[in-house]
Symmetry: D2
Subunit: 355 residues, 4 copies
């Protein structure tokens, strides 16, 4: 038998490495009562439908799925006909981290460089052309990530500007919201302010990175999308037989303010980490660390002096982001503690000031 | 708020409508301790690897996934090149119940009629031809289901005969084992007796229908398959980020004898139901029920006098199987009680003997 | 250097084994004048558009492609969303002879047995169900073949009955018309009588089997279909760069009555072959031949006494159709001569009456 | 009836806009003799097999297809398993001009910027990583184009360096040779010098752009590739029923030196065009034209003063290449005449020196 306990208690590696928030686990356990029909015809999923409308308004429909790849690839299939392709940032998860799953469903991805992870109408225009040309895979959707893979945010106005531009060109807009709660918490606006109200057509609503076990949802606002989504979800192998347990997680998260509490906490821990480094740099306790992105949500991106990353990693788990420039990514989650951050700050100080 | 409790406590509809076995739920809760790496690089998944070898021997490798559709479609992709197709029974889940997911990965399914749900070398030969003919999608795999969709069983010898035949023709053999535990319990043999030892190449190892929340695995015995499977799983959107919770379910189920206890119980309840009906038919308490399949695992298939099914369904949930002949399917699960069965028998007696 | 001339001058193997009708070859040569834009923006393709409307009426649009597989698979993609499947006869070319190309575009094929190759509303109903069930790949189109793979025909009324049924169920109708000319010639009606006027939504219009070099077209009658077809055709690798030469073939065939002359001739040769055999059977010159299908177009299907097929094949090329029952297929083409038929009849007489 | 003759006799738009070389048309007509089996089992295709070995050596196998998209996408499928992706230049035809056909077969394309259209080991390395990471679509092939979309060339040594690098990383190498003849003519080396001998694994052998009607081939050098290619070709809808006519075109082109004569001529015309412009720029007869690429094959790439391109296009057909910088592409073909070039030079002089 393995000792399952000797795992790094302290890490800044991934918001997927934390476990399940206790309130969500309680909800899973509570949902385990009696028989209910499978595949979503159950009272939990029915309840989730109401929860989703409290956030996104009447007509919003949520389709629970297992994971973020599933949510994104189902969303793209919902937005695109067989001949359609999607424009996104080079750094987007759908481009770099889905193992080619979108393409394995026939979807070409047109990328544009986006140094801070954010698209703009101007960047979109680099690929938004050629609709009268059958030689070009037809760009019929744009996908943005909120908060981005680089820890940055779109304001509601920025999303609206993108949506208007995208719609004006006859395309539709997807938002990968695997970290949507961090964005809403940072922006201090309701979820719908930068999604439905800002023109997003299909949303990947995150759960797992914010404390769920395995629960995301594709949220649509249009009846036509809602009608076809069940078939796309099933064909994409993302229909849960015991769906009540997926829905129960999302209810626990979004049914009251747990999503917001968790996200605020994660963001606050990232802010604490950044502030601690800035302070250390100012007073000399920390040396040679440079930030590569603003810290707007739960991630801190920085470059470190040579050798520091490897030494730090013997004590805390985290990932290189762009190894060619020595850039690392530190993520905070709902269960990162102030002690974790402070211990990490101390380690950074130690490792950057070694003789 | 919905009242989540007024659901049919008694039903024979689907083994997916039961909840999660308490021991499995306990294991899920226990796995929620601290941070561990995601995507399978965790001690639970490592432990599962050992558990799997206790059942299937050295070299067996399990890849946890979310659901049965995922397990089956990943298995087929592992067995088949781009130009390969699979032979299976008309009634097979991969043909009738996956929403076209195999075809959406490019896999053609050649079907043969199999009145009891079981393939034989002779039935396979109806489609096993044309390997030198590029006009024919190349049948390079055969898929069998154990226990079958019709509640019947393959003996180890029958699987071996099929495997030898399939391999002799240069094809490979997949087993859809979403109800594999029911088969092993009924046959009273180890899992490997009718899988690896009988020549199965890739196995969909079931969990959800036998008490898990959402946990299946693709099990392979060949290093080459194990090497490519991670990429197929990811591209098929079935890689769990917090995989420890999937693995923990499978450990709870297969780490001791829970899989067997659950399956034995479900099978025993189906046998009780069948025996009760047979007894009722003999003594006149039940009238007009005819069995359409032997009851070898956890399912009873029968035809009912006109109107009986609809009246029964106001009291117990179950499905038509072949509505054109009035055939119904009754499934028992790990949590079906003797009281459930007896109450159902009483209802059948009532409804079939009404004036 | 090979001697290219020692090929069987006389054969009944396939309508693809003949060459190119001289008038079509002349048209190809004539089209080789100067530079014209590629990909269909040329005067030949423009002219073809007019030719097609003379047959199918205003609003009919033809999209030239290279071959029948291409035409069929593009047609199905035009009719079906990502989650759609098609119902067809077990014997349909799209099921047995496309090497899995439809499935490789994600399209599941639901088959029904059709002993004479023809679907009926009743046969369609065997698979036309389950639209509210996400577990079932959604049957949203039906495909019929005219004339069928078994040399039989649908009357315009039969097509209309199917179309009404299909449309009434919310599905759409495809016709594989790789031998459409043979059907029109046999029925003695215009092409549109059993296509557009009978409710066909998308047509694969044949050319190659009726004397073209390599030319088929997907014909649609609906603006929405016409709008998306170019993108589907390109993504399906069927957009000809020098399209004028494909269009020129179709103009030569359908611009006057060559399509009809060729088809009438082929049909007449099949009728001559059948009549000759019937006569021989009556007067004892031929023994033991039995017909398995009516001869309504250019094919004769028959069973032969043991050994006869193999002996005949040393002198004339033709194929087994269903080897398990000794069934063979004899096809006549635009360039089959009366001498060819009479020589074949003599050989059949010889080989079936040997001591 | 359209007047088919009022088409621009003079143009520099595309090597697909020319017609068919007379020798090839003669070969097509000559192949139209009697019946031969379809699908490649004919003496022409057999002869082509010999022709191909004279160029590429024993063991080289050619599979005729209809067009370049077909050749490329079949080649990529031959090189890649389901989970594989391909690295290529941003400007590659497979990335920008196939309408997403590779992705519609499940193939992700990783692009790198290549200002002159040429990959290098260093450029490849920008995407050649992540083979142990299931989150990354696995780059298992590299595709280069010879001559490139920008009219530039790889030397045999450059191809060899790429092949060694690619193979050293466990990947395989595809060459898109739709303009391979122009490359061989310019390099003055045999076709195999920069293909098989330089380490290319699978070649798209061009025909159509060099005077054929519609004929390309996928050429492989490995028995394992040759074994599976027929099935991939069929499933990709690129199997010609009357294949003799495709093979006859390739025999006419590659059976003697027509491929080379045509390509040399096209290259010479491009050189004449460039030299004429350079001369004009030197003596002031032409103003403001700047070359953006070397002219190594049959294409000239240049930027023009504002307004010139549009005025020129009223007299000669050609395309913008990068409209954002005013770049145009002028292509010469086997039938471009010295008069065409000189007339164009005169027009350029006129339009660039207008008051």
């Amino acid at each position: 038998m393995h000792t399952l306990h000797d795992v790094a208690a302290r890490e800044f590696g991934s918001d997927n490495y934390s476990g399940v928030h206790p309130e969500i686990m309680t909800a899973i356990v509570a949902a385990n009562e009696g028989h209910v029909p499978g595949y979503g015809d159950d009272p939990y999923t029915e309840h989730l439908a109401e929860v989703v409308t409290t956030h996104f308004g009447e007509g919003a429909r949520a389709f629970p799925v297992f994971n973020g790849t599933g949510a994104n690839v189902i969303a793209l299939q919902t937005l695109l006909p067989r001949w359609g392709s999607v424009i996104t940032a080079e750094t987007a998860h759908i481009n770099v981290d889905e193992g080619g799953a979108p393409e394995q469903r026939g979807i070409k991805i047109h990328t544009v460089p986006a140094p801070d992870g954010k698209l703009t109408p101007e960047l979109i225009d680099l690929q938004a052309w050629g609709w009268d040309d059958e030689h070009r895979s037809q760009p019929l959707a744009v996908s943005i990530t909120q908060s981005t893979e680089l820890g940055t945010l779109y304001t509601p106005d920025e999303v609206r500007a993108i949506a208007d531009h995208v719609h004006g060109l006859g395309m539709r807009l997807h938002m990968d919201g695997s970290r949507i709660a961090n964005a809403a918490a940072a922006l201090d606006v309701p979820l719908r302010a930068f999604t439905r109200d800002a023109g997003v057509d299909v949303l990947s609503l995150g759960g797992t990175k914010n404390g769920a076990l395995a629960a995301e949802a594709v949220v649509v606002f249009d009846d036509a999308d809602a009608k076809v989504l069940p078939y796309i979800r099933k064909g994409s192998m993302q229909l849960a037989s015991k769906m009540r347990f997926v829905s129960a997680q999302l209810i626990a998260l979004y049914g009251d303010d747990l999503w917001l509490r968790n996200a605020r906490h994660a963001n606050a821990m990232a802010a604490r980490l950044r502030a601690g480094i800035e302070h250390g740099l100012a007073d000399g306790a920390i040396r040679g660390v440079a930030f590569t992105q603003p810290t707007q949500a739960n991630g801190v991106f920085a470059t470190l002096p040579e050798g520091v990353a490897d030494r730090l990693r013997t004590r805390f788990r985290f990932y290189d982001w762009d190894a060619t420039i020595g850039e690392v990514r530190w993520l905070c989650t709902f269960d990162t503690t102030e002690d974790d951050v402070d211990a990490f700050l101390a380690a950074i100080a130690e490792e950057t000031t070694r003789a």
